[in-house]
Symmetry: C2
Subunit: 227 residues, 2 copies
């Protein structure tokens, strides 16, 4: 019974159409100003201000001030995930299995999640590396195999530097749009950085989208080939 009020509060924050519109606008990962969000929701700035304050206090939004501008972004990926789940539910009336997640095709394909690659491409890479014994599941742990170490070194990643870091090298991370895992951890982050260095893809500075070039896609396909 103590759980009830908690989810009802969060849900009621999302349950207002104006607030839902603003949250949806922020899902793409871009930080928007209060004025921009007011426009998104079709309400006055004062109303938006009041709503944004509520979302902030509910830990759904995180603000950042720049001079007279106040930018808001979603407080965490957790929030984005939850919004995606609600979207799936709204879209899913009656269908037992379908594909939830962002409707934006670019976001589905490749996006940033905790600084590593998510979306279809993220899960493809992970699964390819498992398939080719480059990564190995050891219970809950994901380990890089000897062959995998060679693979990522060839790809241009300084594995020793990564191993010297405190954070886990490899981790599974739930990919919400694909409903499967993608690679997280320092290696996951390094892969994304390397992909960018190679010019295969660019992170949109304003959004979570990772935009692969046509050539980058070809290259990535080779990298993630099933071998």
């Amino acid at each position: 019974m103590k759980e009830g009020p908690d989810i009802s509060h969060i849900a009621s924050l999302i349950g207002d159409p104006a607030r839902a519109n603003m949250l949806t606008a922020l899902m793409v990962g871009k930080a928007l100003t209060a004025s921009e969000l007011a426009q998104e929701a079709g309400i006055t700035l004062q109303t938006a201000s009041s709503h944004l304050s509520k979302l902030e206090k509910g830990n759904l939004l995180r603000p950042r001030k720049q001079g007279r501008h106040k930018y808001f972004s979603l407080a965490s990926d957790e929030v984005a995930h939850t919004l995606e789940a609600l979207m799936g539910l709204a879209a899913n009336a009656g269908h037992l299995r379908s594909r939830p997640g962002p409707r934006n095709a670019a976001l589905r394909e490749a996006r940033v999640c905790y600084n590593h690659l998510a979306g279809e491409m993220g899960t493809r890479l992970y699964e390819s590396m498992i398939t080719r014994q480059l990564l190995r599941l050891n219970g809950e742990e994901v380990e890089l195999t000897t062959a995998g170490a060679g693979f990522v070194r060839d790809f241009g990643i300084d594995l020793d530097a990564l191993k010297a870091q405190r954070s886990a090298l490899c981790r599974q991370c739930l990919d919400w749009s694909e409903r499967r895992s993608h690679l997280a951890g320092s290696l996951g982050r390094a892969m994304l950085v390397r992909i960018e260095e190679l010019g295969w893809a660019k992170r949109d500075t304003k959004t979570r989208i990772v935009a692969f070039s046509p050539n980058g896609k070809v290259r990535f396909d080779e990298l993630a080939a099933r071998g």
Copy 2:
């Protein structure tokens, strides 16, 4: 912009405390009558009836009539997952990574998901089978290896009968509480049935809980050993 009203409607359905309490009570997987749900929410039956009608129209609940009794259950696992996500968010104020999902320890440990084993034990079994090359990832597909086929046959599963079925033998299924995959598909279902046949665990007839006996746990640990 067209997406907004959709999630706000679903979220507002969950956003009422009485409705949230009723939805939460149903998360355990048990079907409850309108009267029982009214009690759960601490409201009168007439109020509950009105709320339940809304949840039903919103495709969050599924009703089943038995004589004068009307039982309600969550409309799908999708709904349960979304509620779990909201719970995670409500619990997560400020924490970037934590463990969402049912608070009920039994549900976290082992529960039914689309008729196969989910929860900690479900993910452990899956990961053990991957680790020991009993299952193999081939891109998105999960395949049973030759060694795996022998393993499940030894476990007492009629693999030929399963293969004759139309549905996929092995599938990955997102385990929300563990945030990792567990085994789904006809093999996943058969494993759960077999576990029951062996008397290791019982499905609670009223809930999604899969209750392992002490001996069953020992046996399961052996089955899911990392060897």
